[in-house]
């Protein structure tokens, strides 16, 4: 299945590239064979680039009639044994929600890219937002554990797209790359490594039909995948089901299934969750930020440090599963946590849930990032206020 050794797929070298195209190049380097999507600002460049490049490597670019179809098409492609991706923005992500749940229920690895824009509804198609944080966690009904990566640079649009494919295959789960308009349309330096240095995780597949079926308890909780056309004649359903794929619609069946599909992610938090520390040495105040807005936060920390305020940043690289332990640990070091995000308060809630110190939100209605000065002002106000007492 590994396709990344193909030089037509991996454009190794240094590039000056927009984030959306970096994401598409990463998908190609990761061996993505099918892209199904629907045009939407500000994610359209991903579709355009895939339509140009995928046929060159023998893959399929399929423009579907809507995002419901796009989501289902990548699930189908993955069930046939190839890596598949779609890309969208808020309105399309809303339409994908139901079938993202199908992917969770059938345990179909695939990658969904959401380049966030201002909302709700049609909102601001060409301007940024971080309004889909909770939707990426809870967008479909029922209980499931999504894995969501939040890139903060053009390089990460590439690197974390690769990570999305690998995590999806490792745990048999749809993964989400949560970018935003600022990142998607930002031009920056990208270094694509040599093909053999692209990280690669082989999707665990079921042994041939004539071999014994591995016991459900083996592996990491994600059963090896049986692909269509290999003679397994397996049934996949969105109904609550047993290990044969047959409906098991009762409390015991539900518990057995959900314990496993929730557990396979919860039991591996330490392997999935990623954070980045920035100048947290000796910090008494911390900023918790993610995505494009963390770039403003980083600058704010730099300026506040220059003013002598002991502040640092914890950047969430994975939004979900949430970095519970990192936040708890941070809150035992600092006296206050500030959460600037381009919404009216989303990731601040789990930060509050796990922090043992006070947590404040610095909201933003979207359309732009926080200005670093706004974050510095909030830090300075708190610092001076505390000093006076």
């Amino acid at each position: 299945m590994r396709a990344s050794s193909d030089r037509r797929r991996v454009r190794s070298g240094d590039h000056f590239m927009i984030g959306d195209v970096a994401c598409a190049e990463a998908a190609l380097a990761a061996g993505c064979q099918v892209f199904a999507g629907y045009p939407i600002t500000p994610a359209t460049e991903i579709a355009e680039h895939m339509s140009h490049r995928l046929p060159m490597v023998g893959g399929y670019y399929m423009q579907m009639e809507d995002e419901l179809a796009s989501m289902n098409a990548i699930l189908g492609a993955s069930c046939a044994g190839v890596r598949a991706m779609t890309a969208t923005s808020g309105p399309g992500f809303s339409l994908m929600a139901e079938n993202l749940g199908l992917g969770m229920m059938m345990e179909v690895p695939c990658v969904v890219v959401d380049i966030m824009r201002g909302g709700p509804s049609t909102g601001m198609p060409t301007l940024t937002s971080q309004g889909d944080v909770m939707q990426s966690r809870w967008g479909s009904h029922g209980d499931y554990e999504p894995v969501v990566y939040a890139p903060a640079s053009v390089q990460e649009m590439f690197d974390l797209t690769i990570r999305c494919f690998n995590t999806a295959d490792r745990y048999r789960v749809p993964t989400i790359l949560l970018g935003d308009q600022m990142l998607g349309h930002m031009t920056g330096h990208l270094r694509i490594p040599p093909a053999d240095e692209i990280p690669w995780v082989e999707r665990p597949t079921r042994p041939p039909p004539e071999d014994p079926v591995p016991p459900p308890s083996s592996g990491n909780g994600a059963p090896p995948m049986a692909h269509a056309g290999e003679g397994h004649r397996l049934h996949f359903t969105g109904l609550t089901h047993d290990e044969r794929g047959y409906p098991a619609i009762d409390a015991a069946g539900s518990r057995q299934l959900l314990d496993r599909i929730v557990g396979k992610i919860r039991d591996h938090h330490s392997e999935i969750v990623e954070v980045e520390d920035y100048r947290l040495d000796g910090a008494e105040i911390a900023v918790v930020a993610f995505g494009s807005n963390s770039r403003s936060a980083r600058e704010a920390v730099r300026r506040a440090r220059a003013d002598g305020i002991p502040v640092g940043m914890l950047r969430l690289v994975t939004l979900w599963p949430f970095a519970e332990e990192a936040i708890a640990e941070l809150s035992r070091q600092v006296r206050w946590i500030l959460v600037p995000e381009i919404n009216y308060g989303q990731i601040v809630h789990p930060v509050r849930e796990y922090a043992e110190c006070p947590v404040s939100l610095l909201p933003h209605a979207g359309g732009a990032l926080h200005h670093p000065d706004d974050i510095v002002s909030a830090i300075r106000r708190r610092w001076l206020h505390e000093d006076r007492h």
């Binding site: 193909d6 030089r7 037509r8 454009r11 190794s12 070298g13 240094d14 590039h15 000056f16 590239m17 927009i18 195209v21 064979q33 099918v34 199904a36 680039h49 140009h52 046929p55 060159m56 490597v57 023998g58 399929y60 399929m62 579907m64 009639e65 809507d66 419901l68 179809a69 796009s70 989501m71 289902n72 098409a73 699930l75 189908g76 492609a77 993955s78 069930c79 046939a80 044994g81 190839v82 598949a84 139901e98 079938n99 199908l102 031009t187 040599p194 692909h227 269509a228 056309g229 290999e230 003679g231 397994h232 004649r233 397996l234 049934h235 996949f236 359903t237 969105g238 047959y246 409906p247």
Partner: protein
């Protein structure tokens, strides 16, 4: 799950009584059974039976015709490469009973899921088995576009004029005036004429039969499986508790008799006239309406890419890449696109 209606209970009771009254010969070791199993055993998941369908439902007949078609094409199209995809509804349960790779997806979305399967592995023979509400009402947009693209999947539609699984509400094929659980005063809307819609979209193979036409149906399904591109077979089926009982077909048998009385086989019919208003005496026109093969989506995709020379261009680009080059940013139009 649907709750048992009076009609169902009666039918179940009748069936139970028939079993009670069955002569004991079957259990007599002296009498040898002609066969230990059912001829379609290898095509069904025995451990999934009995099925959930009501007595007198037409789905068993549709399923049997599908199995027969699969057997017929098996020498050229191995069963391991046959995939059955379904959405939600009574018909959607067919995917769970056939012993093939099968995918029971969400309501209305079987076609896009099937599209992905075929793109992921073009060697597969992908069939969507679906009901009228699933395909034409909630999933209508996918049907229209897959048909327009002539995408390489088969669609076998069981039209019973109702949402059976939820207890008999009206949908996109319910006749005008029909009584359903959400049209207690009669259906205001007109039903869809499916073969005419398919013709307008250029579908290369379109047929319609009722569940009374077992042999013709199996032959058409076989023909559809052999035809490249998008194919559509509409199967008119009784749903006694969901549609028939409230609309002058008290039992499945009565509806089958009506099929016998009003069906007209006319492969040359003008498809604009084959809608199913289902007023008393209206004909149900059946036949292999359209058999006009044309290049399928995947055939055309391959041809288009070949003509555009994309593979050669890609190979050249790879050969000349130093591995350390600097590409010009968002450079889609600057590249040597043929």
């Amino acid at each position: 799950m649907k709750t048992a209606t009076d009609g169902q209970s009666e039918a179940l009771l009748r069936q139970g009584a028939a079993i009670e009254a069955a002569p004991p010969e079957a259990a007599d070791p002296e009498v040898a059974l002609p066969s230990e199993g059912h001829p379609a055993d290898n095509l069904l998941r025995e451990d999934r039976l009995p099925h959930i369908w009501c007595p007198e439902c037409g789905l068993g007949i549709a399923l049997k015709a599908y199995l027969r078609a699969l057997e017929q094409v098996a020498p050229e199209m191995p069963l391991d490469k046959q995939v059955c995809v379904s959405g939600i509804g009574c018909t959607g349960r067919i995917a769970g009973y056939v012993n093939l790779d099968s995918y029971h997806t969400t309501h209305g979305r079987a076609i896009p899921f099937a599209t992905g399967l075929k793109l992921g592995n073009p060697e597969l023979s992908v069939t969507v088995f679906t009901g009228d509400g699933d395909l034409l009402t909630i999933g209508g947009n996918h049907f229209v576009h897959a048909a327009r693209r002539n995408f390489d999947i088969n669609v076998f539609l069981v039209n019973n004029f109702t949402y059976g699984m939820t207890g008999g509400q009206f949908g996109g094929t319910t006749p005008q005036g029909a009584v359903s659980s959400t049209t207690p005063y009669g259906n205001v809307e007109d039903p869809m004429n499916v073969p005419a819609l398919a013709e307008a979209l250029g579908v290369p193979y379109v047929a319609r039969w009722t569940t009374l036409h077992v042999r013709q149906l199996a032959r058409s399904l076989e023909q559809a499986l052999r035809t490249p591109g998008f194919t559509l077979v509409e199967i008119i089926s009784p749903c006694p508790p969901g549609f028939g009982r409230a609309n002058e077909y008290r039992t499945g048998t009565e509806m089958m008799k009506a099929f016998r009385d009003v069906c007209r086989v006319d492969p040359e019919a003008d498809l604009r006239t084959v809608g199913l208003p289902m007023r008393p005496g209206d004909p149900i026109v059946c036949g292999d309406f359209i058999c006009r093969p044309r290049p399928s989506y995947l055939q055309r995709y391959a041809e288009q890419m070949r003509n555009a020379g994309v593979h050669e261009a890609a190979a050249e680009a790879a050969a000349s890449a130093s591995g350390e080059g600097v590409s010009p940013g968002y450079s889609r139009r600057l590249e040597s696109a043929p």
